[in-house]
Amino acid sequence: MFRRLTESRRALTIVVDGVATPARGGDSVAAALLAAGHAACRLSAVSGAPRGPYCQMGVCFDCLVMIDGVANRQACLTPVRDGMRVETQRGKREYGT
């Protein structure tokens, strides 16, 4: 669980698994998810185990989520955008995502 030390950044809204979720300008998607209380962002493609961001610098590939319909995007390297649709990456990438 993470909280914000400052509310100085521009407030915006992303949609996480269909739920409108507050975020702040400058957040990565990973930061926004953690700030909103989501520890896990995906289910492993190997075993289905829940996984969440581990390194925040783009090298662990545990923070994979579906963003605006595209699967397996690294949440920690993607800046939030107002209205962005973020979904749990449920296992293997589906055809067409």
Partner: protein, 473 residues
């Protein structure tokens, strides 16, 4: 973010990585009039140690400490030097000595360069404990990035675990921010003290001692420290719920936790250099593979130099000094003139100052063997979920090294490309076989060293020979 198309066809120097080493190298090259591009996969400059320095939401001098903010001047100078700065640019291969493959915004390009300076820095050492793959368990470095870039701090029950300066720095930064920490599980191996103390004089004369002591004293006063921790397990179903630790003295404790932050040092991020066939050797002090470099960062591959923590862990100031030296070598090679002699003297003086004391830190904070070579069902390869038991069983089958291990078990085949399992696998094989890590070797790495899409690859230039090579019977 600039588009891939905005890159020139060619440059004199490409610097990969915009941390202190890369910023310094690019600055030196550009100021000397070379056409220089600074490529970095993050959106903003600073690398990891100065992460967020151009746009942190945290006000100056409140939480992060003066050492962090010192990086600002370097960033400003580098951005003003005339080097072309390309953020969100993933260098995925050095396919030829004079060609870099880079992906920006989903488009890949190959750019011609005369010289390349790799400044890809360091990554967290793997910390394979039971439950380390649970959501809510992350590296201390990750937590620090969240703090720097988004002003996020953990709430609820928070445990830090491991060893090394970064752990203490983070705890201190959290104290400055009013964050409550439940405990720090200190895994510093007491056996390390005797070997480290041999280098105590160097450490005492270094810039690290006074800072370090002040920091640790402040943390110790405010946070519960459990010393001599020899085993840690993270427990929980959907996320971490508790951390169990055992000390050398046999005391065991179960700490409820919402967040577990792990750290046992950083190691060079070797993937790009290794994929370009740069020679590496095993370091017995830093317990990782480091590239073989000379005093200017030159490697066995002509025109590839390495600077910064990627050449061996020594911290931000040493990285900047090494970056300047690599830049100076590039300037001399490309202009044919022995320029910047005074700058070299200054850089070497700085390097000497900041390298002093590293031997002490390296030895004191060598992670204990049990935390580097796990057993049983502890996951070693996070991507493919390969366990320690499977690896040891496969060594018993006669598997001599990490590449055969990869073929048999898939460890190292995931998208992280061995960054979080490679050292563990090498060390486990070495120990089980009774053979040196240098002899066991490491995963054989090839481009792309970060995943890129098939569509991007399809868009790369081709030639007649390539078209003929593609079978069409």
């Amino acid at each position: 973010m600039m588009a891939a198309g905005a890159l020139d066809e060619g440059y004199d120097v490409a610097v990969v990585g915009a941390g202190p080493a890369g910023l310094a190298a690019a600055m030196v090259c550009a100021q000397a009039g070379l056409r220089c591009v600074l490529l970095d996969d993050q959106q903003n400059p600073g690398g990891q140690i100065y992460r967020g320095i151009t746009n942190s939401p945290l006000a100056r001098d409140t939480v992060l400490g003066p050492d962090y903010w010192r990086g600002e001047a370097l960033v400003r100078a580098a951005l003003a030097s005339g080097a072309q700065y390309a953020p969100s640019a993933t260098v995925w291969g050095l396919l030829r000595p004079d060609e870099i493959a880079v992906s920006i915004g989903g488009v890949s390009r190959q750019i011609r360069v005369t010289r390349t300076i790799l400044a890809t820095g360091a990554i967290e050492r793997p910390f394979p404990i039971a439950g380390w793959t649970l959501p809510g368990v992350m590296t201390a470095g990750a937590a620090q990035i969240l703090l720097k870039t988004s002003g996020l701090a953990p709430t609820g029950r928070t445990v830090l675990a491991g060893c090394g300066p970064l752990l203490w720095l983070l705890a201190w930064q959290y104290l400055n921010a009013g964050v409550r920490l439940d405990a720090i599980l200190d895994t510093t191996a007491s056996a390390n003290w005797s070997r480290a103390l041999r280098h105590a004089a160097g450490f005492a004369a270094s810039p690290y001692l006074a800072k370090g002591l002040r920091l640790m004293r402040a943390v110790r006063r405010a946070v519960r420290i459990i010393r001599g921790v020899v085993e840690i397990k993270a427990e929980g179903r959907e996320r971490v719920e508790a951390v169990i630790c055992r000390t050398r003295r046999g005391q065991q404790e179960r700490l409820p936790a919402d967040t577990l932050l792990l750290h046992q040092g950083v190691v060079p991020n070797v993937n790009l250099a290794m994929s370009a066939n740069v020679a590496h050797r095993w370091s017995d002090t830093q317990l990782c593979f480091v590239p073989c470099v000379d005093r200017y960062g030159a490697t066995n591959v002509p025109h590839i130099a390495i600077a910064g923590d990627g050449a061996g862990i020594a911290g931000a100031e040493a990285a900047a000094a090494r970056g300047r030296l690599a830049g100076i070598a590039a300037v001399r090679a490309l202009t044919g003139k022995h320029l910047l002699a005074e700058e070299e003297r200054t850089a070497r003086h700085s390097l000497q100052r900041y390298e002093r004391g590293r031997a002490f830190l390296d030895l004191l904070y060598q992670p204990a063997a049990d935390f580097r070579r796990p057993r049983g069902d502890i996951v070693v390869c996070r991507c493919e979920e390969v366990t320690a038991r499977q690896i040891l069983d496969t060594v018993a089958l006669g598997c001599p090294g990490p590449n055969q291990m990869k073929a048999f078990l898939r460890c190292g085949m995931g998208p992280c490309q061995g960054r979080f399992c490679g050292l563990t696998v090498t060390e486990m094989i070495a120990e089980a076989r009774g053979v040196a890590c240098d002899k066991v070797g490491y995963y054989r790495l090839r481009p792309p060293i970060k995943p890129i899409t098939l569509g991007e690859i399809a868009g790369l230039p081709t030639d007649e020979a390539a078209i003929n090579a593609v079978a069409r019977e």
